[in-house]
């Protein structure tokens, strides 16, 4: 069995200052191009505008013509980046070195998937950036031009209101566990700060001839400030959603519109099963069961077992939920599913003091067994009743 060792993450103190007078995207693309030229990586995985100009898609490319249409921080999150990276390396590490540029929650999802052996990070350089959030996709696809404008306005004015509900209260919008992080918040002047946080990240910056000598404290203190503010708005939001769903009747009511399309599960980066347990023959009901339930209750609604699906999915994945909000974007009947799963995710993760995706060395809590040091207040029986509980 895996041993329980929690790694501690330390925010790096220095970065490389890069001019970005034309904005974040051109500056980053320039660095990426240098990376390709130097041969540090052969291609980049990043969002590129689709030919119909109304969305973005993940494209692995080294070609200028495609990089010109790329946007490292697009207004929307179409496919969750972790999911995209997993389709690339699910069946083995790429022999070719690549860089993947994604939002922090997408990086965190990728790291969780790496622990589940669905991603092989061996030849991948992970690059993230300070994230202002993402627009709900319905607010973009019907009028992309307006969507682009709304997003850039919101970013400029530090306005989270137009963003996904889970983005508005996100407390992990900055550096997580990438190789390289692009700091923008609290970085003065028309510049961005490239902050390496691993040996790979450092060698990359070396390779492209960029010096890591700028003090990053103005950035890290800005992030700290923003995180604190988000923590309190998150508390409020969580309290609200918990009240909305408190008790079985309310919870059932919030989920009453569910048509069991399972889009939420399909787009979730952490739901990695090829066939969901709740779509398998185990969960099928027989004719007699349908009729018996109807006879017993007088009237049953279809689909049956809607709550079972959601609660079951919760029990399987909340330990790794990164609150990206893709599920809520995909729901055709506008159930606040991300807000619910995010709140439950935070609670279950805190039971084990676990933050998904923060470090590849943190083992998945449900896979390790820590005999005496865990869940004592729930178990109430310590290994040595004479010694008493010595955890925490």
């Amino acid at each position: 069995m895996e041993k329980n060792m929690k790694a501690k993450t330390v925010t790096p103190s220095k970065g490389a200052l890069i001019p970005a007078s034309n904005g974040l995207n051109p500056a980053v693309l320039e660095v990426l191009k240098k990376g390709i030229e130097s041969g540090f990586f052969s291609a980049v995985l990043l969002p590129v505008k689709v030919p119909s100009d109304d969305s973005y898609a993940w494209v692995l490319t080294s070609q200028d013509s495609l990089l010109e249409k790329a946007n490292v921080l697009p207004p929307v999150m179409t496919v969750q980046g972790g999911k995209a990276l997993s389709s690339l390396t699910k069946h083995g590490a790429s022999k070719m070195k690549i860089a993947a540029v994604m939002r922090p929650c997408e990086i965190r999802a990728a790291i969780e998937l790496a622990k589940l052996k669905q991603i092989d990070l061996e030849n991948v350089l992970l690059i993230s950036m300070d994230c202002p959030g993402a627009l709900p996709i319905q607010n973009y696809v019907d009028n992309p031009i307006e969507g682009e404008k709304n997003f850039s306005d919101a970013v400029q004015n530090d306005d989270v209101e137009p963003m996904r509900p889970t983005c508005k209260t996100c407390t992990h919008f900055s550096i997580t566990s990438p190789d390289l992080h692009i700091a923008t918040m609290g970085v003065t002047g028309d510049s961005i700060l490239l902050v390496p946080s691993s040996a790979k990240g450092h060698s990359f910056l070396d390779e492209v001839g960029v010096n890591v000598e700028t003090d990053a404290s103005s950035w890290s203190s800005e992030i700290e400030k923003l995180t604190e503010a988000r923590k309190s708005s998150k508390q409020k939001a969580v309290a609200e959603i918990k009240e909305q769903t408190s008790g079985f009747a309310n919870f059932a009511e919030v989920l009453s519109k569910c048509i069991s399309c399972h889009n939420c599960m399909s787009v979730c980066p952490v739901c990695y099963c090829r066939r969901c347990y709740f779509e398998s023959d185990v969960s099928e009901l027989s004719t007699e069961q349908y009729m018996a339930r109807s006879a017993q209750k007088g009237s049953i609604r279809l689909s049956q077992d809607v709550l079972l699906f959601h609660l079951g999915r919760m029990s399987h994945m909340t330990m790794s939920c990164v609150s990206c909000g893709s599920c809520e974007d995909a729901c055709p009947v506008d159930i606040p599913i991300a807000q619910i799963f995010s709140a439950v995710g935070d609670d279950s993760q805190s039971l084990f003091e676990y933050i998904p995706g923060m470090s590849p060395d943190d083992p998945l809590p449900l896979r390790i067994f820590s005999k005496d040091k865990e869940l004592c207040d729930i178990e109430r029986i310590c290994a040595d009743p004479l010694k008493g509980c010595d955890s925490k």
Partner: protein, 363 residues
């Protein structure tokens, strides 16, 4: 000439009355139909006559294609008691297509289906002013106009009069007309206790609606220009696709336990991506966005009933239903096949008639 019953008053109440009576008299063991479940609209299976008043049989809404629910309930083919099933014509057709694929059984089901004016799409129903929209809808229906707030595929639907229904019903401004098509249908109406009349469905209404729909369909298909949509056009049409496969989940015809496009065979080793990258300079990840849709068309278009669930389920508003209905229409015309018209007509792709498609064969 058919036996029919006219019930005055609110159409929903009228049909509820019939169903309640069937349940109370034990003619059926349960009733399946659209109804209120809390604040939501879902399909219900009702065994208690006291709960019949939650049914909304004429509500122009389809939260899910009922064929999927019926398929789950009747899989195994051993339904022991009769169920009166109130569903829309395309749902009934979809169910027939599933029955042909051993994914359901019509045994002991009694079908009650309307002459359908179409259903409101999800956005209209969930986000619009529902009362206003419904009122506009019924106004249009009663004036034989195609409502403007229904699913695009509804506005071009040719088979809005149900096949295989034991009872066809038509809401009117004064109530509801129920026509029996089969002895079982007659039995249901007769058991209600009221005297039946003989007559025909008002064909003039249906004909007017039919010609409006057909001309709409022609225009719609012309506008779609699917024939000219080559790979470039498909890539544009499906550019926003997230690969969520919601369209497939809600489709009444997609019945596979594990979709071929979700199976291991569709997951690629990194070498494949590297090859594509080298060949074309860039590769979209996850792969097979357009391939999934083309594959799904190849697998199910012959049975596509044009219900439009797929477009409603799509999170990025791709007009999936329009494309699939158009493709379906083309395939079905080749075989002169109307999906769901008969329970016992085999699906064309699983039959081999020697003297067929000679125009595309070499010899």
């Amino acid at each position: 000439m058919k036996k029919f019953l006219t019930i005055k008053g609110d159409a929903d109440t009228a049909i509820q009355g019939l169903l309640r009576s069937l349940l109370e008299k034990g003619e059926v063991g349960a009733v399946f139909g659209l109804g209120k479940s809390g604040d939501a609209i879902s399909y219900l299976v009702i065994s208690d006559p006291a709960k019949i008043d939650s049914l909304c049989p004429t509500l122009p809404f389809m939260p899910a294609n009922a064929a999927n629910h019926l398929s789950k309930i009747t899989a195994g083919g051993n339904l022991a008691e009769k169920i009166a099933v109130v569903i829309k014509p395309c749902e009934l057709r979809g169910f027939a297509e599933l029955v042909k694929r051993e994914s359901g059984s019509p045994k002991n089901l009694l079908f009650i289906s309307p002459v359908c004016g179409g259903v409101l799409d999800f956005d209209t129903f969930y986000k619009g002013d529902r009362d206003k929209e419904l009122s506009a809808y019924w106004n249009d229906v009663y004036s034989n106009e195609i409502p403007s707030n229904i699913r695009p595929t509804c506005s071009i639907c040719e088979y809005f009069e149900p096949f295989n229904a034991d009872i066809t019903f038509q809401p009117t401004t004064e109530g509801c007309e129920l026509y029996s098509n089969t002895p079982a249908g007659v039995g249901m109406l007769e058991s209600y206790g009221e005297k039946l009349s003989e007559g025909k469905l008002d064909n003039s209404r249906i004909e007017k609606l039919s010609s409006a729909r057909l001309s709409n369909r022609e225009k719609f298909f012309d506008g779609l220009k699917l024939e000219e949509m080559e790979i470039k056009g498909l890539v544009e049409a499906f550019g926003k696709c997230l690969g969520c496969h919601g369209c497939s989940s809600v489709c009444p015809i997609c019945y596979c336990a594990l979709c071929a496009f979700e199976a291991k065979e569709n997951e690629f080793k990194p070498e494949i991506f590297e090859k594509e990258l080298a060949k074309r300079g860039g590769v979209r990840v996850p792969p097979n966005t357009v391939f999934f849709h083309l594959g799904r068309i190849a697998h199910m278009a012959v049975s596509c009933v044009g219900c439009g669930m797929c477009s409603d389920a799509c999170p990025v508003d791709i007009p999936v239903a329009s494309i699939f209905t158009r493709a379906g229409d083309a395939v079905q015309k080749v075989f002169d096949y109307i999906p769901g018209e008969k329970f016992d007509e085999p699906v064309p792709l699983s039959t081999f008639i020697e003297d067929e498609l000679t125009e595309v064969e070499d010899s």
